[in-house]
């Protein structure tokens, strides 16, 4: 989204600012009401879009949920399409 059509702006020898607008490509709709749960979920989702976790050198695939250690009986989905 260039700011004009006249040409690239003049350079002054400083590093170009790779600048991103907050709000663009925003995180998807929240899956959980609880902000903490949602923050954990969205961070895991974002991380699993970039890294593959491993165990003993083997990739651990298909991770799709998490639990808080204090309440292991409650399961949360990581990906929105898997929500109940």
């Amino acid at each position: 989204m260039g700011s004009d059509d006249k040409g690239p702006p003049a350079t002054n020898g400083e590093d170009f600012k790779f600048r991103f607008k907050i709000g663009e490509d925003a995180p998807g709709d929240a899956v959980y009401d609880d902000p903490l749960t949602e923050l954990v979920r969205s961070q895991l989702e974002a991380l699993l879009d970039v890294v593959v976790l491993t165990r003993n050198g083997e990739e651990v695939r298909g991770l799709d949920g998490f639990r808080f250690m204090k309440h292991l009986d409650r399961q949360y989905h990581i990906h929105p399409e898997e929500q109940d």
Binding site: A10, T11, G13, F20, I22, G23, E24, D25, Y32, P35
Partner: protein, 595 residues
């Protein structure tokens, strides 16, 4: 939105945990990202973060945002998704809390990459890619331009690469350490040689390395005599001219080229200046086969090092209705190329090159010579198109990847004399390739161009499937103890792959099923597997299972549709296929065939 039936933490615990998690996130993100409020940098040391209502944050309601360049995030999807991760972590945190700066709300409106040296990537690459997305407006408007058919989400926002960005990328290019700034993919690249100050920028890059630049592609319009003289001191580089037609009237009509003589004449001038180039032709049916033939004949009289004839295609976004019968058009073009090859010396390669073999059932993975660059050591040694390379300097070369690898390596390492044994008409013939001095070759061959374009000594050798791919297939099947393996491939690659798997004895103890997913993302006219998406694979596998096919223990998918970050052209990761289908899915490392 899912409401929890009960909350596992007390309110106090939740608030404390939330504050801690948000602060940690912001602190970590601030190490790689600079935060801005309305164009003013926010100093992390002077800011603090509290959990609070999201409404006042990050939505540009109160802070005036100056007009400025924002970088399209989508350029990062395929090649540098860590920038997307930062963006998402930051966006998620700002949705849940607020930043304060010196007693007031510091509304974050943008973020920037902090410390660019952290964003260098290790990669031995061609210096030209450092120029990144440098391109400016095309002075032509081709009726068949592939960009017309981009899906909406692949279309870039109107973004013209600022000169500052190019200069920064050149500054951070470190050829001695094989490092450069990340690559940001813009599918809407236009004409490089119309970029204001392009020659000056290329000189800056040339000052950092004497390595050849790869792939400067132009439609020929900017190749005025002045531009050619300006470019000459920048050699070596690969220049590709999308000439499409040498008929001025057709260039005017189908490319909207107002001065077709400039591009057509430029090729003769390049020859006078001893600047080799490659020519490409999009064989769009409206050019007609007669024009294609005339264009190829005109080019042969110059000649380029190679003529690439791109078999025409279009996505469903280009036209939802069929524009022509693809098979009929492609077969007609290949038939013409095969006839002209018997008469002309310039190598003519229809792309994708494997289509010709598919059409004529010629894939046997033999290292046959597709073409010989005129004036090259191979041409002078008497190598002919169709010769099958048997050995080089007494090293046996049993199949394509072996021949291509060995000869390319010898050439790159500067081996000046190669004893080549070829099979011709069933008999062995000995030939000698010499590249000891400049007198061993002539236009349009140069050593630099040949190294750049992997035409060792002027030999055009087809890509093939390495036996290591089939070794990998067997290894993956054994690792997963698979008794039923589903291999997904494409129309063009199915037969070669099956042939090669048969050659290595198949997969022991496993039934193999082959299948070809449909490209629904780009439409049925696109049938090369390299352009399939995660969604295409997921749809296919779900429907395959729903149709009652036995569940495979292992699904193998070619890696050619995915970037080094394992992302398809839409930016989705390969790993989603397994997660969304519940199947065990692995990637086969195979080479792209469309390039």
């Amino acid at each position: 939105m899912t409401a929890e039936p009960h909350n596992p933490l007390s309110n106090e615990e939740r608030d404390a945990a939330l504050r801690s998690l948000l602060s940690t996130t912001l602190r970590n993100v601030s190490r790689v990202a600079g935060l801005e409020s309305g164009g003013r940098p926010l100093e992390p040391a002077a800011t603090w973060f509290t959990a609070g209502p999201a409404e006042s944050m990050g939505d540009g309601e109160t802070v005036k945002v100056p007009r400025r360049y924002y970088y399209p995030l989508q350029h990062f999807r395929a090649e540098e998704p860590r920038a997307l991760l930062v963006h998402r972590l930051l966006g998620g945190a700002l949705r849940l809390g607020r930043l304060h700066e010196e007693g007031r709300d510091g509304q974050v409106t943008a973020w920037t990459l902090r410390h660019l040296e952290h964003w260098l990537v290790d990669e031995e690459t061609d210096p030209g890619s450092t120029l990144g997305n440098i391109s400016w407006y095309c002075k032509v408007k081709c009726k068949f331009c592939y960009q017309i058919g981009h899906p909406p989400e692949l279309k870039s926002p109107r973004y013209t690469t600022p000169r500052e960005e190019i200069e920064t990328k050149i500054r951070y290019y470190r050829p001695e350490r094989k490092q450069r700034l990340f690559h940001a993919t813009n599918y809407d690249t236009n004409e490089i040689l119309t970029y204001p100050g392009v020659v000056e920028l290329m000189h800056k890059l040339r000052a950092k390395t004497d390595r050849p630049f790869y792939n400067i592609t132009t439609n020929g319009v900017p190749l005025t005599p002045q531009m050619i003289s300006d470019l000459k001191p920048l050699l070596p580089f690969e220049l590709g001219i999308s000439i499409n037609s040498t008929n001025p009237g057709l260039r005017r009509k189908l490319m909207r080229d107002k001065q077709p003589e400039v591009a057509i004449e430029s090729m003769r001038r390049l020859r006078e200046e001893n600047m080799p180039f490659l020519a490409s032709i999009v064989a769009w049916p409206e050019f007609t086969l007669e024009d294609l033939e005339q264009t190829i004949r005109d080019l042969d009289r110059i000649p380029p090092a190679e003529i690439r004839v791109c078999l025409p295609g279009y996505s469903k976004y280009f036209s939802a209705d069929p524009l022509f019968d693809r098979d009929e058009v492609w077969q007609g073009i290949v038939g013409l190329v095969r006839r002209l090859r018997d008469e002309l010396t310039v190598p003519i390669i229809p792309l994708p090159s494997i289509y010709e073999e598919h059409l004529h059932d010629e894939f046997h993975n033999q290292p046959y010579v597709q073409g010989v660059v005129p004036g090259s050591p191979a041409a002078r040694a008497g190598v002919q198109r169709g010769d099958v390379v048997a050995s080089a300097n007494n090293v046996r070369l049993p199949h394509r990847p072996a021949a291509r690898y060995a000869l390319t390596k010898m050439h790159e390492e500067g081996v000046k004399l190669v004893w080549l044994k070829v099979l011709r008409d069933g008999a062995e013939t000995d030939l000698v390739l010499r590249e000891g001095s400049d007198s061993d070759f002539a236009f349009p061959y140069t050593r630099d161009l040949a190294v750049l374009h992997r035409m060792p000594y002027g030999l055009l050798l087809p890509q093939g499937l390495g036996h290591e791919v089939m070794g990998q297939v067997k290894q993956l099947a054994a690792h997963h103890r698979a008794e039923r393996v589903l291999i997904l491939t494409s129309t063009l690659m199915r037969r070669p792959m099956q042939l090669m798997l048969d050659q290595v004895g198949g997969i022991e103890g496993a039934d193999v099923e082959w299948a070809i997913p449909e490209n629904r993302y780009l439409g049925p006219n696109i049938f090369m597997g390299d352009l399939l998406t995660v969604e295409d694979y997921v749809n296919f596998l779900r429907e395959h299972q729903a149709a009652g096919h036995p569940r495979p223990d292992l699904v193998l998918i070619p890696g050619s549709a995915f970037s080094t970050w394992r992302r398809d052209i839409t930016g989705r990761t390969f790993y989603e296929i397994g997660r969304l289908t519940g199947l065990t899915v692995e990637m086969m490392q195979v080479t792209r065939i469309w390039a």
